[in-house]
């Protein structure tokens, strides 16, 4: 976390970083339909083993 007086950075540029090594396709499919409990991609886990070893999540 970057500490500042007026701003607290909760999460950095995770999305921008992911463009370099993303797209492996190992993750779960993400149905967006309300009739299945799987809406939004934002709550899915990355299952690329190379990515998951890099850092621990900041927040739970």
């Amino acid at each position: 976390m970057v500490a500042m007086k007026h701003i607290k950075v909760i999460s950095g540029a995770a999305l921008k970083k992911s463009i370099r090594e993303g797209g492996c396709g190992a993750c779960q499919t993400s149905c967006q339909s309300a009739c299945k409990t799987s809406c939004t991609v934002g709550n899915q886990k990355c299952e690329n083993p190379r990515q998951s070893k890099k850092s621990l999540p900041l927040a739970k």
Binding site: M1, V2, M4, K5, H6, I7, K8, V9, I10, S11, G12, A13, A14, L15, K16, S18, I19, E21, G22, G23, C24, G25, A26, C27, Q28, T29, S30, C31, Q32, S33, A34, C35, K36, T37, C39, T40, V41, G42, N43, Q44, K45, C46, E47, N48, Q51, S52, S55, P57, L58, A59, K60
Partner: protein
Amino acid sequence: MIHTYHLLGRYVLLDIASGAVCELDRDAFDLVNTITPPMSDEPRENLTPRQREAWDELYELQEQGLLFAPEMGMPELHSAPLKALCLHISHDCNLRCGYCFAATGDFGTGRRSVMSPQTASDAIDFLLSRCQNRINLEIDFFGGEPLLGWDTVKHTIEYARAKAPEKNFRFTLTTNGLLLNDDISAYVNREIDNVVLSLDGREKVNDALRKTMKGQGSYAHVLPKYKALLTGRDRDYFIRGTYTSKNLDFVKDIEHLSRMGFESLSLEPVVLAEENPLAIKECHLPQLCVQYEQLCEKMLSSERQYSFFHFEVDLEQGPCFHKRVRGCGAGHEYAAVTPEGDVFPCHRFAGMEDYKMGSVSDKTFSPEISDLFRGFDVFSMPDCKSCWAKYYCGGGCVASNLTVNGNLLQSDAVGCALERKRLECAILLKIARFDDRHN
């Protein structure tokens, strides 16, 4: 693009292209909303001393690539072979739910049927012939009610594992629970990775719409079965419900489910055409947004710990950019198979002959529909381009678009508004819990 919001006393800044999430104080919050990027290192004239400090910090964010980051555009997408099947084990159901999108089980086909073990084997072969080098493969047992074809469910699991031991099959069962018994529950807990148990919340709410074929409420039938199943379960599950215009106070239903001892909850808005009296409409949005805020507050203050599926978001290790621009895999990474073996882009299209892609039984497959669905992403959906939530939601559900608007590409505006509200709450919960962990 940035998105800012004030919720439950906190000021939040999202930088959409980079994915950065910040909490601001009031000075920085007011200031950032007046800035036209790019920022200069020299603060604007006529700022107060505190605003000048905030300017310097915002400028630092910009220089680190965490603020006003440029849009990245469509990434180069690798091949996206089939890796998940929704098996409609049964096009029949032993409930008659008032909001059923599957026309009480037969998907409007007029035929009530159960998938044979042979068709299930054909479906697994179809998946294995198309999954290329994917290791993780998903099978969702769906319906209708899949327990009406329980022998086929068990056969599918055994056949898949025996046919391709090198693959990691992950099985999910979605059930209304009526046919659960000790033997089935034990098997589900031993062999099935995730189980989705349908229940809408309070007894009167559930029973108003989830009725047996004799018109009785289903709550009292399934609640003890769910409790018994979960007593022996140490794997994923969801208690999953639907809310409609008849229970706009749905937080009471979530609290009820929590009081019943369930810890993994999902309650989702019904998707119906506007003329349906149960439909969620634009006029309901203010009340529903307040409900989500109340749920957020309750989850922060409640001693009972539970997870709410739509408030789960992974800010650091969630899906990559490639995944987020094309959240829906229907028609290429994901497909549905009917009891007769017909293949459709997803479960919501089952029975719509215009969208039939082939058959696992006669091994036909025509790529036109698959190619059409592969082209849907947040850059091709007109309403997504300017939406701050696009990389969190991935473009939404084209089947919902078709249901609500009669058009695959025109987003469901009400559903999108609810999605944005849930995301604001989800991110706020992350921020609050981040404080709990670091203070």
